[in-house]
Subunit: 446 residues, 2 copies
């Protein structure tokens, strides 16, 4: 019988702003960061999780994780494993902490880190990657993960059960296909706003050569720049590769519509985050006006209630769930079920540190056990910072290879926890020259 003995936290930050990795119209100089948590146990594996931020305020998420420690330390691991839904609901339901959201912002980011760490722990004890841990659960076990409060007007527990039971007979076949072919990816690597035209073109060509069939460009700061960059990208990839564009919440409704009409000749596949991530009705208006260009959002959707409304209002064509923004695996299971009910594809957000590693488990679980479909679906891929993870993602020929190691993929290397600790790690104390690469994979990172 194992017990959680400590909630250990780390403030990990990468100085990505120095090279404009991750730059977009709203976030000109992010330092990709992880508020990192280890659930220490007295027997067997520990559980690792994190939430993703872009620098300042990462310490607040670390403190918010610690604020939940009294709800976690001392728990029996087997009991937690038997009721992960209840575990997550108790974290989110603390009545005094809940006031600070409810279910949004710093507290919810912290809950996401802890819930994902709990799944990492449970999966490691079971010897399974999280996608498979989930995909081998019964429909009843899956729906028990979900906090059903506030969902019943759009999806009931019983509807979700029917949906999962309908998908059950195909699980084995889809698992085999997934293991053989992987899961489709698209790449955001070419499109950061701070990159030069030359770098954009070079990286767009490289993406196609590597087998990607979709790339993504950041837009929204300057229309003339966007038109030029989109033209260059379209010339570089040809007519058959999808080019999604991402405005990172830059516009008002009318501005989004006008801007996208200008970009339409270059056949953008979707417009992502055209306006405030809180604006369900605004997205619905934009979607109606820019068809057939798709509308995508979700990385800042604060919780399942907002996603429910995006779907019920017909405001989105693509749901971009984030592994850490909501309260972790359990709330993302709710989001996958909602998307399946409304027949809207999920293309997870993964532009950050470690988001690729974690979110692939959710997409693969969705394919095997929930939607049963790959149509219109792809996981975002960005090719930096993977070298810091114990089990980095493998993307080949435009597909995520299926992770086979036990856990959720969130575990950072010990050297990274040491060198990128903020503010006293080597990367911050002696920023130039940068610290030695953390491992042999580092050479691949741009």
């Amino acid at each position: 019988m194992a017990t959680i003995t400590a909630v250990e936290t780390h403030d990990i930050r990468f100085p990505t702003s120095r090279e404009l990795h991750g730059s977009d119209a709203m976030n000109p100089d992010p330092d990709y960061s992880a508020a990192y948590v280890v659930l220490r146990t007295d027997e067997g594996p520990d559980g690792h999780g994190f939430t993703f931020t872009i620098g300042r305020g990462n310490d607040l998420c670390v403190a918010a994780i610690q604020a939940h420690a009294p709800l976690v330390v001392g728990l029996d691991v087997d009991a937690m494993a038997a009721d992960l839904g209840g575990f997550a609901r108790r974290l989110v339901g603390d009545s005094q902490l809940r006031w600070l959201g409810p279910e949004k912002g710093v507290l919810h980011l912290a809950a996401g880190a802890i819930v994902n760490a709990a799944f990492d722990l449970v999966a490691k004890r079971a010897g399974l990657p999280v996608w498979r841990l989930l995909a081998e659960m019964s429909p009843e076990q899956i729906v028990d993960l979900v906090d059903w409060r506030y969902l019943s007007d759009a999806l009931t527990r019983e509807e979700a059960l029917r949906l999962l039971r309908d998908a059950a007979p195909g699980r084995r076949d889809r698992t085999e296909r997934l293991l053989a072919h992987g899961y489709p990816a698209y790449t955001t690597t070419p499109g950061w706003l701070g990159y030069s035209d030359e770098r954009l073109v070079q990286l767009a060509r490289a993406a196609v050569a590597e087998g990607f069939t979709q790339i993504k460009l950041k837009v929204g700061a300057d229309l003339a720049d966007d038109l030029r960059r989109l033209r260059l990208a379209r010339e570089a990839v040809g007519p058959d590769v999808r080019i999604a564009v991402d405005a990172n919440q830059r516009w008002d409704v009318a501005e989004a519509v006008a801007w996208m009409r200008e970009l339409a000749p270059f056949d953008p596949y979707w417009i992502e985050e055209p306006t405030s991530p809180d604006d369900v009705l605004g997205h619905a208006a934009i979607r109606a006006a820019v068809r057939p260009i798709r509308v995508a959002t979700g990385e800042h959707a604060q919780n399942r209630v907002v996603v429910k409304q995006f779907l019920a209002a017909g405001a989105v064509d693509v749901v971009q769930l984030d592994a850490c923004r909501v309260a972790g695996v359990t709330e993302n299971v709710a989001i996958l079920l909602l998307a399946a009910k409304f027949g809207v594809p999920v293309c997870p957000h993964a532009g950050g540190v470690g988001l690729c590693e974690v979110v692939q488990h959710l997409a693969m679980f969705d394919y095997v056990a929930v939607s049963g479909s790959l149509t219109g679906r792809a996981i975002e891929y960005v090719d930096h910072l993977h070298e810091h993870f114990a089990d980095p993602v493998q993307v080949r020929a435009g597909h995520y290879r299926v992770p086979l190691r036990a856990g959720i993929g969130a575990q950072l290397r010990e050297e990274t926890l040491r060198d990128f600790a903020y503010p006293h790690g080597a990367a911050w104390v002696d920023p130039d020259p940068r610290p030695a690469p953390a491992g042999p994979e580092a050479g691949a990172a741009r």
Copy 2:
């Protein structure tokens, strides 16, 4: 020329859970708290502000206030006073901190404390209460306070200017009427869920005797209890006093509708927070089903974008803005303008510590310079913890007396900052017996 020299913070908590003050269906044991900030200057008055929480996590708001200090310390006070809108937009717009919301949760609560402290500072230097500082601004100055991003599909700067200009000729008359008669209040004091039936009846009768024409009861935990309590309250106050009920987010949509049909025979005036504060479409569905009972929400509306949607979707009859949940005075000016545009009355939330003191300034400004109306409007009043403030609210004959002292009303007494500091103040180190009342007004608190 004065400069802001320091952002000083205090973690202030009151042990209200010991007597079930503030108890409701979602918050059984709140310890009313303030993440308190003082903007210290090198010349003239300081600025005082806070954000309200219910206990655990107040430290996170304090830390989030400090996270903004680099954007505040060193500012020239005159320059800040000349562009309070720009000041607020820079606080909220820090791109790395913004990621943790955006514009919601702990970071936004912290921004609210700071923005309100800045208004306190500017008003004290001008020798004016904040309601009057605002009410004497030109329409152009008022619209410049607002962050117009994400609003233009519902309200443009130009529409707001027209609205304010239309209201301008009546400002002087309404100011005089306000000074003579005060602003209507309703009281939540009788209705906390943890109070006994006897206490409920006694306090409901006392409220009517004191001149209130509306009281509010907490509901949502148990239908039989609610029916009994509502019957007792209706018998106590008679048919002509309004009884609002407040479910504090307890229900799903269908549950809210069914529950309110049961309570309808007792003629509830509004149902407040029937479901998730994020659920615009859910509120719209509830409103359509429970008419003529009004739907009220807003104390947890995270920002102006959510309020915009509540109004545009016809989801609410009453907007309950909160002085500290959004980014302070500037964002609440946006909310008042939106409500005026849609013709929906604002009845501010004030169940907490110090919320009455601050929010009265917004309601009075609204009456004088924005909506120009008192119809269907009243400020919530709860009669505890006022003794801790340097300038406590005065409620007489069911009306808020107009505050005349300069500032926003947020300033706590020095003894309170000492005795209720968490965790080392006397109230927490030696909780029983409780510390001596902070001042002569303390006897009035229950």
